[in-house]
């Protein structure tokens, strides 16, 4: 058994604590002063950084449903060791998104209204239901991990008896939810720049979330496997990298084919505010990682995978932010740049996510067949003011 000791002070611990405290302060300011005084949102830009951050959180949480589907529905048992980290990522991702949504809503006390006041014509309505239902499914998928820790086996059996329909429901809800974030923008053909607006937005959002979700899993296995202890054999990690490459390739084909048929490629002839954003997103996040992942050597190298998965995630983030912000700007007249408070709330919530992951991974059986993680020199190993054993 571990003995409880005062949190050891680490560099990342201090960083995370500072960011969380700043975020809490910013959130208090937002609720007491209102959105107008604390954000750069306006009637021209009613949505900003936080919506982009929601897209990001949900996209990274795609790790959950892809791995659950692979292991439990498609019986790719060899990936079993990463199921729990993936579910944890998704669970934290969704909880954080709910948190951001509540902060973003003008009337957070009414957040439950979509449950009783239905408008099935609204994409936002579908999104709210998907978030609520999938977070419920995720808590049921996550519950056994907590129950196991406290040796409560009866409820685990109950959950296990409904696990198949539960997992199928989870995959369906994720599919709907990932794509419906794209559907949100189907209704603004007059505003969203043609480089991003397409009737295929929901499909493109879905394909790219597979690439980002799997990249997130690869990155996690890299970060969490250290000191001779591997979460996932290198060959399987290389397979995940292959899946990422396939998703990137499919995405590129669909995206460019669609742009070609909509005559949007002409927008790329000149280097403008929008085309520069597009080039960054596509080249850094999709083209280069795809080419790199074709190489057997890179798929099997830790450093190679670090770099490529980070590029995929950066490109994914750029894509979501471009859809949510850049594509709606008309440079240079109508632009939006987040306020300091908006940024602080976002970084605070991100820090809460990292801290929660580190703490939960430390105290709950997320990696059941492995020795407890040893703190080491790795930069990500102590993201939080963690309680050390011994």
């Amino acid at each position: 058994m571990k003995t409880f000791k005062f949190p050891r002070i680490t560099f990342w611990g201090v960083v995370a604590t500072t960011l969380i405290l700043l975020g809490v302060g910013a959130a208090i300011a937002r609720f007491t002063l209102g959105l107008g005084a604390t954000t750069n949102l306006s009637d021209e830009f009613p949505w900003g950084l936080w919506i982009g951050f929601d897209f990001l959180g949900i996209g990274l949480a795609a790790a959950g449903f892809t791995i659950v589907a692979a292991v439990h529905l498609f019986h790719a048992r060899q990936y079993e060791p990463i199921v729990r980290p993936a579910i944890l990522t998704a669970f934290i991702g969704y909880l954080l998104v709910v948190l951001v949504l509540v902060i973003d809503l003008g009337r957070p006390d009414h957040f439950w209204h979509p449950l009783v006041m239905w408008n099935p014509h609204s994409v936002m309505f579908e999104i709210t239901w998907c978030v609520i239902l999938y977070t419920t499914v995720l808590s049921a998928e996550f519950a056994p991990i907590v129950l196991e820790k406290f040796n409560l086996h009866a409820p685990i059996k109950w959950i296990h008896s409904v696990s198949l329909p539960l997992m199928i429901l989870g995959v369906l809800l994720s599919t709907l939810h990932q794509s419906s974030f794209g559907s949100l923008y189907l209704i603004v053909p007059n505003r969203l720049h043609p480089l991003w607006y397409t009737p295929l937005l929901p499909i493109l959002f879905f394909i790219s979330c597979i690439a980002s979700g799997v990249s997130m899993v690869i990155l996690e296995t890299l970060v969490l496997s250290r000191k001779g202890r591997t979460l996932l054999p290198a060959a399987l990690r290389a397979n995940l990298a292959k899946i990422t490459a396939v998703a990137l390739a499919v995405y590129l084909v669909v995206r460019f084919q669609d742009m070609f048929s909509r005559h949007a490629l002409g927008e790329l002839k000149h280097l403008t505010y929008h085309s520069a954003a597009f080039y960054f997103e596509i080249i850094v996040g999709f083209v280069i990682p795809f080419i790199l992942l074709l190489s057997h050597r890179i798929r099997n190298s830790r450093r190679g995978l670090y770099v490529t998965t980070l590029m995929v995630l950066a490109g994914f983030a750029a894509n979501r932010m471009n859809t949510a912000i850049t594509g709606l700007e008309s440079y240079p007249t109508h632009t939006y740049f987040p306020s300091l408070l908006e940024v602080l709330i976002m970084t605070g919530i991100a820090a809460i996510g990292f801290t929660a992951f580190t703490l939960i991974a430390r105290y709950l059986p997320i990696f059941p067949d492995m020795p407890q993680p040893e703190p080491d020199e790795h930069p990500f190993s102590s993201l939080s003011p963690a309680v050390e054993g011994e």
């Binding site: 003008g106 009414h110 209204h113 949100l184 209704i187």
Partner: protein, 255 residues
């Protein structure tokens, strides 16, 4: 409720006197003042383009984008024309503002419990059989109130009676599926800041196309996933069974 009401705004007749805005402010108990753009205190505003005056206000679409976008149904299209807003339902998500093709809803950014504000086509007056306050106040007849069908006939008549005076288009007749505010103009509408590229289709159809696929995704998806589970599970079972049978036969051989 009766017939669908509408406003016909004839830009050639408007002299920019702002009587409409003043009457609107009295009717909606808003602070006085002449405003050039929509705001929380101006549900209609008048802007000038080379000597021509254009009224801005909620267009009260026949199939409103905001109504379809609102997740809680806080916005509602009445049979007699107005698009109304219910602040008690609103969650403050601002999707209506993002979705509105005419950039109409204004948000109470300074409030800690913000909702939106916009023209309601004087719904309480309509219920009493009265015209909107702005139409009643207009001294030149530039804003005319009436049944939408009658106003469309009148607008067509005005264009045919004096084709040199007007461009041959009634803005709002079919734009985004038709609106309850119609405009006549002496110059092409895009010169006055109107968005003429919105198309004839109601915007809500764009998201309906995607949303209508949801039942299919759920139905086909669940059957497909369950099928894959069954097949891969069976494959595992068979492999296990064959493995044990091999072991059994090994035993027999040895025995």
């Amino acid at each position: 409720m009766g017939q669908k009401k509408a406003l016909l705004i004839d830009i050639t007749l408007c002299v920019g006197c702002n009587a409409c805005q003043a009457a609107c402010k009295v009717e909606n108990k808003l602070p006085e003042g002449e405003e050039k753009a929509l705001s929380l205190s101006a549900f209609t505003a008048l802007s000038e383009h080379d000597g021509l005056f254009v009224r801005h206000m909620c267009q009260h679409c026949d199939i409103p984008t905001c109504v379809s976008a609102c997740p809680v149904g806080a916005l509602e299209k009445r049979a007699d024309g107005p698009v109304l807003y219910d602040g008690d339902k609103c969650i403050g998500c601002r999707y209506c503002m993002q979705a509105c093709p005419f950039h109409i809803p204004r948000y109470e950014w300074k409030s800690t419990r913000p909702g939106i504000k916009k023209c309601i086509l004087c719904a309480p007056r309509l219920a009493k059989g009265l015209p909107t306050a702005c139409a009643e106040a207009c001294p030149t007849g530039a804003t005319k109130f009436g049944d939408r069908n009658d106003l469309l006939i009148e607008a067509t008549n005005r264009i045919t009676a004096d084709p040199g005076k007007y461009v041959a288009k009634i803005y709002g007749k079919t734009d985004v599926g038709g609106t309850s505010v119609l405009y006549l103009s002496p110059v092409p509408f895009e010169k006055l800041g109107f968005d003429t590229r919105l198309g004839q289709e109601p915007m809500p159809l764009l998201s309906m196309n995607a949303l209508s696929k949801v039942p299919n995704v759920v139905g086909v998806g669940s059957v497909m996933l369950a099928g894959i589970w069954w097949i891969t599970n069976r494959r595992e079972d068979v492999a296990r069974e064959e493995g044990s049978r091999k072991q059994d036969s090994n035993h027999e051989n040895r025995g």
